[in-house]
């Protein structure tokens, strides 16, 4: 089995686990979670976010600025033993630590998020602090393309570039959809890569579901000096055909028995 096929399988497994939780809790953001799932897989399983197995902590930081998709990290935290199995099982009960949106009370979650547009600035602050400590700590800020509508994202990019934060990587999950429809129809964002590159930021564009592509991009990022932005083209709802590229699957929707069966089959 190649590394890429291993990652692919992990992505499917995690999506399946999350699908069952969304179904059980009747809430969540499957479209956005599934869109960034493969980014999370490569970050954690590709060794870009480093893990201290003795202390059971990650030594790098991950800011999920698109906080409605933080749930993508929960099964990964469980897999690494950072999130106790019982907490995963407890998800959906009132006493559960896990929520629709991530917060810092959850093991392995570095930032409380949910409101869009904060992740670049917060990541920049973390990156400056890591440099001040002379620590080899990297910060990965995962933002949605929708966050490019927030002015504070551009403020943060300007800031991070000026401070030459080579220990910060901005990842933009571009699935071309926001709640009301396509970004091209609602309010044009493209060309995203050119706009970010226009700030003087090194920008790489990749297919967000091709693990060779993702792996190469994150490796290239490590070898570069300066701030890097990786524009990751993804499919909203990736993995479940009736959710793919559908803006209404930003949120959980009730499903027929046939749809549930189909999703389970496609994620297996």
């Amino acid at each position: 089995m190649t590394k890429s096929s291993e990652y692919e399988q992990l992505g499917k497994d995690y999506r399946k686990q999350l699908f069952e939780k969304f179904l059980a809790t009747k809430q969540g953001h499957p479209g956005s979670v599934f869109s960034m799932m493969d980014i999370a897989v490569i970050l954690y399983h590709g060794g870009f976010v480093r893990f201290d197995s003795n202390k059971k902590v990650f030594t790098d930081r991950v800011v999920i600025s698109k906080g409605h998709a933080t749930a993508a990290l929960y099964p990964i935290m469980k897999n690494f033993g950072v999130l106790p199995e019982k907490e995963w099982e407890n998800w959906g009960h009132s006493s559960s630590l896990l929520r629709v949106f991530g917060n810092t009370s959850m093991p392995g979650i570095d930032v409380t998020s949910g409101s869009l547009g904060h992740g670049v600035g917060v990541g920049a602050g973390m990156a400056i602090a890591a440099k001040a400590r002379n620590e080899d700590t990297r910060v990965y800020s995962v933002i949605s393309e929708g966050e490019l509508y927030e002015g504070s994202t551009w403020e943060g990019l300007l800031f991070a570039h000026h401070h030459e934060l080579d220990n910060l990587t901005i990842i933009i999950d571009v699935n071309n959809l926001i709640i009301l429809g396509g970004t091209d129809d609602c309010l044009k964002l493209n060309p995203i890569k050119d706009k970010v590159a226009g700030f003087g930021i090194d920008t790489i564009e990749v297919n967000g579901h091709d693990f060779d592509d993702l792996n190469s991009a994150f490796k290239a990022d490590l070898e570069k000096s300066g701030l890097t932005c990786i524009v990751v083209n993804t499919v909203k709802g990736k993995g479940v055909s009736f959710m793919e590229n559908k803006n209404n699957w930003h949120y959980f929707n009730p499903m027929s028995d046939d749809q549930i069966e189909q999703a389970r089959k496609e994620l297996s």
């Binding site: 917060n103 810092t104 904060h118 600035g121 917060v122 602090a129 001040a132 403020e155 000026h162």
Partner: protein, 302 residues
Amino acid sequence: MFQRDIFIKTIMSAMNKDSDIYFLSADFGAPALDELRQKFPDNFIHCGISEQAMIDVATGLALEGKKVFAYAMAPFISLRAIEQAKCGPGLMDLPICLLSVGVGLGYADAGPTHYANEDYACARAIVGTSVYTAADSQTTQQIALELIASPRFAYVRLDREELPDIGEMTLNDVKAGFRVFGESSSNKVGLVSHGFMLHRCLEIQKAHPENFYCIDLIRSKSFPDSLNISAKALLVVDEQTPSGNLAACVFEGLSNKDTFLPIVSKCLPEKYIFDNGGRDKLLEENGLGLSDIREAGERLLN
């Protein structure tokens, strides 16, 4: 010396011993800040004219264990970046001090974009804030010392003007959150205020000590535990618009202690002020002249 310079100088002294203190500015200056930038270039960050990014960056620093002071003009750090304050230091309970300069009509005659007449209600509404307002130099210094000693999410309101010292001030007064001028009595009207307007209240109290005493509410949130009030009534004087100003705070604070006194709010009207003429004139024209306050107090005596 201006309050901002006193505060920054106090921070600078602490920076000599603590490399975890960071000072961020959204392109807002002060003579003392020039010195700080020179002496501590690694701990000063210019965030551009970007109050929102400044508080997000402050959040990232504080998540990594830094103690952060974020500095900007009052109307912008309070209202423009209010959601950043909620989502960063608010939600995650981080040691970030928002240093807000030019509260009230301090920037007269710049006009309403530069006035901070709603900042108090906004800052107080965020869960977890400690809200301080400095009326003089000594208070300013003691507030800075308090936040260095016990870093927390705080909103500190400084005046643009150089205000005269009122009296001896200690760290204990800041810890208590208030100080009283004159003898309190159930036959008198208590004039409650903070910052610039406290000076007007003190002028009235000194002229009529038989009728009035003053309370300087240095830390209005959390409301001082040890503030027990005896008065015929309270006149709360604040250079803010009507909704959610210091009078609301006093009512909430006292009612939580089962103290129910007549409370009257003396504040700016519900409008944006575009007129010129300087702060004193604007206050006179908008119901906060000395005679307006005194007459309002006298009405409560009768």
